[in-house]
């Protein structure tokens, strides 16, 4: 059987979900026989080509995130999201409590360790938008919540997908923290 092609992206996140994936340890060896990683943060390939499964970690936080999410969605048959940020908005969405100006000022100027800080500006830097979970931007087919999701939950979701089913993480292994 041909290997399933997988691409992944991390948006506004801490990369913990991808780390949790790597924590599958020896189960990775079996998975490696069934899937082929294409463009992912792990392979450090950034241009998506058509794949069977797209995976997104993190929330959509700026115009670049939105573009990546839409790009991956356009290139994959099934889109799975990992982690509370991608599923719900999570900890990165806490900045929605403040205006963009307040956030930037706090981060670049007011932090206790900063002296003569300045908010950087360049047309290469994508402007911040309101932080949104992935399903507010593109259609999502399956969700693995958790901060990060346990390797068990990720393994469950991948195995279900390989067997042709859309996974819903069972209550016993679902965690939001």
């Amino acid at each position: 059987m041909a290997k399933i092609k997988v691409a992944s992206a991390w948006l506004d996140c801490c990369s913990g979900c991808h780390m949790s994936f790597l924590d599958l340890d020896e189960a990775l060896i079996d998975l490696a026989g069934a899937i082929e990683l294409t463009a992912t943060p792990i392979t450090d390939i950034k241009e998506f080509s058509p794949v069977d499964l797209g995976i997104i970690e993190g929330a959509v936080s700026n115009e670049h995130d939105e573009k990546v999410a839409k790009d991956l969605r356009a290139n994959c048959k099934i889109l799975m999201v990992w982690g509370d940020c991608a599923c719900f908005g999570g900890i990165v969405s806490m900045r929605n409590l403040f205006s963009t100006e307040e956030v930037l000022r706090r981060y670049y100027i007011e932090t206790e360790s900063t002296k003569d800080g300045k908010v950087p500006s360049s047309e290469d830097i994508p402007p911040l938008t309101k932080v949104r979970p992935i399903n507010e931007v593109v259609k999502v087919d399956c969700y693995v919540p958790g901060c990060p999701p346990s390797p068990k939950a990720i393994h469950y979701a991948l195995t279900e997908l390989l067997e042709g089913r859309i996974p819903i993480v069972p209550s016993e292994i679902m965690r939001f923290d």
Binding site: L97, P133, V140, S171, M174, D177
Partner: protein, 656 residues
Amino acid sequence: MNEINLTINGRQVKGKKGDTVLEVCQANGIDVPTLCHLDGLSDVGACRMCVVEIEKERRPVPSCTYPARDGLVVKTDTEQLEKYRRQILELLFTERNHFCMFCEQSGDCELQKLAYRYQMDNVRYPYTFPSLSVDSLSDYLVIDHNRCVLCGRCVRACNEVAASRTLDFSHRGWKTLIAADMEQSLGESSCLLCGACVQACPTGAIFSKLSLYKGKTDECQQITTVCPGCGVGCELNVLVKDNNLVRIEAPRLTEPRGPLCRMGRFELLEPTPPRIGSPLVRNKEGELEECSLSRAVQVIAEKLAVTKDGFAGMISTRIPTETIALFNKFVGEVLGSDSIDTIDGAGYRVISEGIKRFQNNGKGLGIECPIEEILEADCIVVVGADPEKTNPIIGTFIRRALNRRKAKLIVIDSSRDVFPLWTELWLKPEAGNEEDILNFLAKIIIDNCLARQDRTGGEFFRSLSRYEIGEVSRITSIERKRLELAAELYGRAERGVIIYGEELLRSQAAGSITTLLNLANITGNKVGDKLRVISLKPCVNSRGAWELGLAKGIKQDKPKGLYLLLADERDGKELLDWVGGVDFLVVQASYYSSVTSMADVVLPSPIWAERQGKCVSMDGRALELKQVLQPKDGLLQDQEIIIEISRRLGHKLILS
């Protein structure tokens, strides 16, 4: 017939008339998810998690508020209902900040458990991100409105369990918030810090500062013991992780004896003074210095040899009965003295004298009624006592009676009205003048034919003849009208309960106590052979120790030597003044304190959580203190130290 028959999920089940549909489901093992429901609190149908379908109802109804009746056909688990519940959860999650990863209650949260149960892996509504305040000014509690689902369990616990009426809702609709009093910070409100709200809260909206990040419920061992805080003897559920106290809860929060107070729930978890870890004796420079137990015993033995007859013993009544009985033998046989007292013994001698004058050779403290009588009272008289301070659960009981039964409260206190928000009538005697007021009260009750005279009252009636009603204001400095009102309230009450305590006992008022008992007697306030009169007792085993005869009193004005088993009791000013003049002071205590700094020999002692044994609550119930923690650094128990000292001094004592 009280029984009703329903069909739930196609099954024939039985319920009782008056049950809600939810109660019938629960009684029959049918699982219906709930969030705003808490067993024992009234139901309000706030969260809608428990919706069910009922035949002939056009739309789903909350089962917690729907009265069950004969013939109802109910469905609790249809696909449509499950969809609604998931939808309700999503709406709850989007309304405020319910991100679990930085919430203290994650893992102990009912909202989170429901989300797992309904496999809520995404949310279909936009989050609202309201920016709400966090109130952390209270000594023990934090209210984070961002985590609140407005289930109202805290509001109901505050009103129904604590009877404090501090918490309520403010504003309306989706701007609704939990508020303390008139939107004060909890720390500046009428909150009594009983913590009923924190136990009732299903999310991380109300949490305790003292238990923060110490451990989750399922990582803890749970041990049920008795609160050492005062004489009431409330049951505590203590959560322990790695031999550390994590949290204290009420095992049966909503039952009559269920609620806890700040002492039981919080004060026991507060940081303590440094622990005494080994025996200490004075060195040549006069400083206390660590030493072996043998060395400490040697110092005591040397002193004993030269001070025959001069020793006395005094013990805390936080200590279990077995150790108290052993201490009694120790003082008698080893210290060779009959001069013995409990730290709270002076109060007992006044109570005991008062009861004796009322009923010579009677039942002693056995004449007092159980504290549950307060809950059923329609008139409560508090004389020289401050229950909120000394025995807060008695305060809770009083407020519950005032709340639920519309009881009337009379306070007789020379310094202040101890229930300013609740008192119907405050009589303010000159300090020490309580007896006259009480006698005039009795006189008015009799003159207005509110007394039910019987055989035992005659002598008392005669003793009142010297009180001339026209003299009331002159003698008591209280208007006649006010005393007449008090007489009316108490005299006409069906179940009048008198509570007295510390302040009255301080005025050495055996006569007042006799009058109180007579008052209850002539108005027929009896339950079986007991009178509706309650004295407040300060420690968990006060009554146990007193009834063992330990509160005899120290014979000498200043004993030459004193063996003080202070345990984990905090030293008071009175005790300090008293031990000041003692020549040779041995203190067995858990913490360094002003008293230990005055001692010649200091011996270590376990704290409440490290002890076990029997005790007697203030209303005479036998209780069992359980060991919750292993003693610090393998510390010996109080009784082991006493037995060891005795052995070295040539006496064989055994714990009975």
